[in-house]
Symmetry: C2
Subunit: 210 residues, 2 copies
DNA sequence: GGTTTAATTATACGGTTGTATAATTGTGAT
DNA sequence: ATCACAATTATACAACCGTATAATTAAACC
């Protein structure tokens, strides 16, 4: 009856790699790590399983690349407001906090992904390396923002002080992000960012209040 | 040459169940979820794989029981100082914070276990139920401790205020616990509890300082 | 001390997994 | 138009997984 439809189409290496990474993240984030087999990933990306090995030497290699891409995207979303030079340091800090505790950063899918990779850092050196790098990048950017904010308030924090504050602020942000993403409805999402602003404000001894 | 050694010995159901649960936690915490097969778990517990099905209807059942047991133990360790009636509320709160951020609660093994189970809450209803129950139990106990501490300082917090403070305190404790357990040496473990005490003190507007 | 019974082991089985290799097929160059 | 090559598919395979069932064996009982 119909003409033999084209059985497949070629794509650029970059596109294919990205498609496979996206498919991996979608499956892990939606159905968990166990569901992320080479076959299900290939199906999600509309290719056959052999193609995975053509672009990634091993499945673990794909997983590592997916983690890398995911963290890059999360960091991008979380730090996007940090470089808005039209705003004051304080407003940028407030915006970063808010971005971390509202969708799309705040989501069950992201917690599943994050926990899945975190569970592997003790046994997978490459996962550990990516974790440490992205963690320090975010924390250092946060520290700079905190320092700028305090200086704008005529404060003179030492480097040790700002580092400790950055560690603590990062902790409360991460903790609230987890709580907010995992406890279904027991915690109103609307108050999450306000909670962070109020308490980080007290930690920094400035007024970040909503 | 030697007498035929006894090939196995019987144990009480409670002991066997506990042995299998301990073996499961040891393998997941040490080598990750993928390494936790029924065969490796049985070997770790010095039994054969068939015995698992004799005590647990399915492997998922064993995993769930292991999560339950692990969280019970973590909660026990973390809240042990909360009921020491010889101390003031403030000292008990300080002790709980300290217990959460020092070994044995603070450990890479525990983060691996915790992340492994957290990664499953979106897809495993029983894991989700255990998570919510243990989370609320800890947070409620923390809220009571915070209320008692504030009242002892002649403060009159509302229920909403103490609940919000409990959420925020729980968040910073969890966040620091994770940071401290995952970032190898980049963060001195000795300062971790002090960091929590100082910043939670500011959040509660009281002096918890070391 | 033999009998019974439940705990434990031993073995088997179908399905799935990641990887390897061979067979196709789309596509740009000539 | 067809040639050449790389992208993609198709197929195969050995290892491992969780589960089921049958065969042993330790230990309690009378």
């Amino acid at each position: 009856m119909s003409k033999p439809q084209r059985s497949f189409a070629r794509e650029s290496p970059e596109q294919r790699r990205q498609d496979l990474i996206d498919a991996t993240l979608k499956i892990i984030g939606g159905n968990g790590f166990r569901a992320a087999t080479v076959r299900s990933i290939a199906a999600q990306a509309n290719v056959t399983l052999g193609l995975i090995r053509h672009y990634f030497t091993t499945k673990e290699d794909l997983i590592t690349a997916a983690y890398e891409a995911h963290m890059a995207e999360m960091t991008r979303l979380a730090l996007a407001p940090a470089d808005d030079t039209t705003k004051s340091p304080k407003d940028r800090l407030r915006a970063v906090i808010h971005a971390n505790l509202t969708p799309p950063v705040l989501s069950e899918r992201n917690v599943t992904l994050w926990a899945t990779f975190l569970a592997q850092i003790a046994n997978e050196p490459e996962i550990q390396a990516t974790h440490t790098r992205t963690y320090l990048h975010f924390r250092n950017r946060l520290e700079t923002l905190i320092r700028e904010t305090l200086i704008a308030e005529n404060r003179t924090p030492t480097q040790t002080e700002t580092q400790h504050l950055a560690v603590a602020c990062n902790a409360i942000i991460d903790g609230l992000w987890m709580e907010g993403s995992t406890s279904k409805g027991a915690l109103q999402k609307s108050t999450l960012a306000d909670l962070a602003l109020k308490n980080i404000g007290r930690m920094l001894e400035i007024d970040l209040g909503p």
